[in-house]
Symmetry: C2
Subunit: 299 residues, 2 copies
């Protein structure tokens, strides 16, 4: 059963037990463009106590550099090396895990941030923000000349998704069973400031349906994201905690990695999914209303 944190001693105990803190961002630190109350103080407190902090996001629409700007705008001081995004993890996966030869290319359904991370890893890519593929004009295979060097299709959230991109990606994957099918993440929904929108998983879903083949998903809850963190920093899983607002991504991710897990209720999950008869089978070790609650130790 999940432990509800409420007393000052609960939060003190958490600070004592965990040296490394992994945070999901949207729904934990902010919601859309609104900082969650107390986040500045809590991050300062953690830094004062010499905790290692990492920010782990499935958002693949922005590169780490650009994602850091969001922190800057909200007045949160972080280092770009503390930020791990699913676009970055996807690029690392393609170059280091798949070891895709440099002569090969990736067909992208996704946005600028994903392309930037592929560029950083020296991975050639097609599609994405290319104006030729960002069109609602009719698509015909007659005018399509597939690039024989495409060795993977990667799908992230793409608010310019369209039938041309889907058809090209389908063609690459359908013609060549060895063409890798990757998704930066398969979040069902995306929490915009004004409410939920279809998430990155709904961008790869048409291909998965048409092909009868599921993508390899890189972001949370897959361990690939944690492998990326681990490649850069040593940490002791027993003294590491994952803080998130989604049971099926954040909490599942922490559990798969053998980390402690703290669910906050400022995001997508309702308390009834944590306790009571309709609780999820994914049980966080701890839950609290908001990360801001950790401020209790300051009073």
């Amino acid at each position: 059963m999940s432990k509800r944190l409420s007393a000052t001693a609960d939060y003190e105990e958490l600070l004592d037990k965990y040296d490394t803190w992994l945070f999901d961002c949207d729904g934990v630190l902010w919601r859309g463009d609104h900082l969650i109350d107390g986040v500045v103080e809590v991050l300062s407190l953690l830094r004062e106590r010499k905790k290692k902090l990492f920010f782990v996001t499935n958002n693949a629409t922005k590169s780490r550099k650009n994602y850091k700007k969001k922190f800057d705008q909200l007045g949160l001081k972080v280092d770009v090396d503390e930020v791990f995004g699913s676009a970055y993890a996807s690029a690392v996966y393609i170059s280091s895990v798949m070891k895709m030869p440099k002569t090969k290319k990736v067909y992208v359904i996704g946005m600028k941030g994903l392309e930037e991370e592929l560029d950083e890893e020296g991975i050639a890519h097609l599609g994405g923000t290319d104006p030729a593929d960002n069109t609602l004009a009719d698509f015909s295979l007659k005018n399509f000349h597939p690039d024989p060097n495409v060795g993977a299709v990667v799908c992230g959230l793409d608010t310019s998704v369209n039938y041309t991109k889907l058809s090209k990606a389908f063609a690459y994957l359908h013609r060549d069973k060895d063409c890798a099918f990757l998704a930066t993440n398969i979040d069902s929904t995306y929490p915009s400031a004004e409410g939920l929108l279809p998430g990155a998983g709904s961008i790869s879903a048409p291909l998965a349906f048409a092909l009868g083949r599921k993508p390899i998903s890189i972001g949370k809850p897959a361990e690939t994201m944690l492998d990326c963190v681990r490649a850069k920093y040593q940490y002791d899983p027993e003294r590491t905690i994952m803080v998130g607002d989604r049971l099926n991504t954040d909490i599942e991710f922490g559990k798969r990695g053998g980390l402690a897990t703290l669910l906050v209720l400022t995001g997508i999950t309702h308390e009834s999914e944590v306790v009571g008869p309709n609780a999820s089978t994914t049980v966080p070790d701890f839950f609290t209303n908001s990360i801001g609650d950790v401020r209790a130790v300051l009073s």
Copy 2:
């Protein structure tokens, strides 16, 4: 086991046994813009023998009237009342099965043909070909004012599918559990003249994924299409045969309706899916290379 037809007597027997012939079109009568060899003669032969003919298509991009033009162009004489499309069946389902009040509206992800069939049934609709929704511009819920009268979302193949349409449809379905979620059909692929493209099922797939809810599919293999035929014409299922090129739509459709089934190999299905160790569990009563083979009885 499926019976392979080859002798003249096989085709004569078919003509004796079945009075009503239901045809799938693409892959059976034509492929893309190319008529399949012998189709004109075979349809003439069936009409001479006083057979009732129906053309049952999952294609929801065209209304029956417009779909008939395709027959005209290819030199096939059919009556519009002989044509049954999944767009028409969807409209009939909304008005006659769901009995959606006339004050309610449908949000459409689909093309002109679907809108025309909704118009014919007097069903108000939003989205679809509305230029405001056919855009790759950023979508924000901030500027979206949902119509409180939307009672259903219907998805057909839409080559202008985009994030605005998906987000609006998602919003209608997510806000209101009673909002019906319909798909004209859920074909995984669409057979264009130049090869396969993502099908209508890949248009509803993003919503199904984001919502965790499957659409009610109207087209083959669902019986709704057959209910539409039945509403207009009496036929004896024992003396009716469904001719198609897809096991999981056409043949499944015939079987569910208690009809005899004839698979042709001019479309999507390979012989190895009908006979041998890798055969599908959906077994047509008969199979033959092409509908043109029925010409054997003429010689």
